[in-house]
């Protein structure tokens, strides 16, 4: 398992459009853009962890905090 995957127990996201299971295709570390995000900085990785997901059924893209 990759180090990033260990940052969160991975539960597949449900597509908000069609309800299918989505694919998590990216785990991106970004600079915090607000006080809320600053409060959840992963100090080991040096930023806020964000997951990007896409739906293989309808193509919907979505994201959530990692």
């Amino acid at each position: 398992m990759s180090p990033l995957a260990k940052t969160k127990s991975y539960v597949q996201m449900r597509c908000p459009v069609c309800g299918n299971l989505m694919n998590r295709h990216a785990v991106k570390v970004i600079e915090p853009r607000s006080a809320k995000e600053a409060s959840r900085v992963n100090t080991s990785l040096g930023g806020v962890v964000t997951e990007a997901h896409s739906c293989p059924a309808c193509g919907k893209n979505a994201w959530r905090a990692g």
Binding site: A5, L21, H25, R33, E51, A52, P56, N61, W63
Partner: protein, 212 residues
């Protein structure tokens, strides 16, 4: 990838200036792209994106622009070169989104009044797009000496640009298709993946011709 879902590839006109000549290549590229089967596109003029200039990112995000970027599978950026770099307002608009761009393809069309065809603006834009999460292609289009390429009405004066733009779009569409497959099918944890996705073992199996 759903076979019946077309590829969404908007064309972004990256300047707000009055009298901008970049509108002609933007319309031309949009027209060539609109003629591709299985592609839906629209011309997004950043002059029409309502953003305040005293904020940034999520705080000022335009919901309509954000939704277009979320739906997009890739994009074409038509960017004039201003003092060797990109228009500040284009950067401002692009910076208003982030997650929307992740693992999507971007192709750049440079425009300049001089002979270099926006080569410098293209080079200066690449690190920005990379940080946003966009995947850039290795083919660009250089509209140099723009007043000799289009007349004031927008008529193309140099037919060679038809083939150049089509070659650029071929590469962009390949990248758009490939990245959409990756977004929808290849898990970010390539060592394991999850059910229904292709981790590294699945990809190796495909490369060896094994059935999945």
């Amino acid at each position: 990838m759903p076979a019946n879902k077309p590829l969404s590839i908007p064309v972004i006109l990256g300047t707000t200036r009055q009298g901008r000549m970049s509108v002609h290549p933007a319309r031309f590229v949009h027209e060539r792209l609109a003629g591709r089967e299985g592609v839906i596109t629209e011309l997004i003029d950043i002059a029409t994106v309502p953003l305040p200039v005293d904020g940034a990112g999520d705080q000022i995000k335009d919901p309509a622009f954000s939704a277009k970027m979320e739906r997009a599978d890739g994009m074409v950026l038509v960017i004039p070169e201003y003092n060797h770099s990109f228009p500040g307002l284009l950067k401002h608009v692009l910076d208003s989104c982030l997650e929307e761009y992740i693992h999507k393809a971007a192709g750049i069309v440079g425009v300049s009044a001089g002979a270099f065809g926006g080569a410098r603006v293209i080079q200066n834009t690449l690190p920005v797009l990379r940080e946003l999460g966009l995947m850039t292609i290795f083919t660009d289009v250089y509209f140099g000496s723009i007043s000799k390429v289009f007349d004031e009405s927008g008529k193309l004066l140099q037919p060679a640009f038809v083939e150049r733009v089509d070659n650029f779009l071929d590469e962009l569409i390949w990248m758009v298709i490939t990245l959409r497959h990756g977004r929808e099918r290849v898990d970010s944890d390539t060592t394991e993946g999850v059910e229904g996705t292709e981790g590294i073992e699945g990809m190796i199996g495909m490369a060896k011709g094994g059935a999945r």
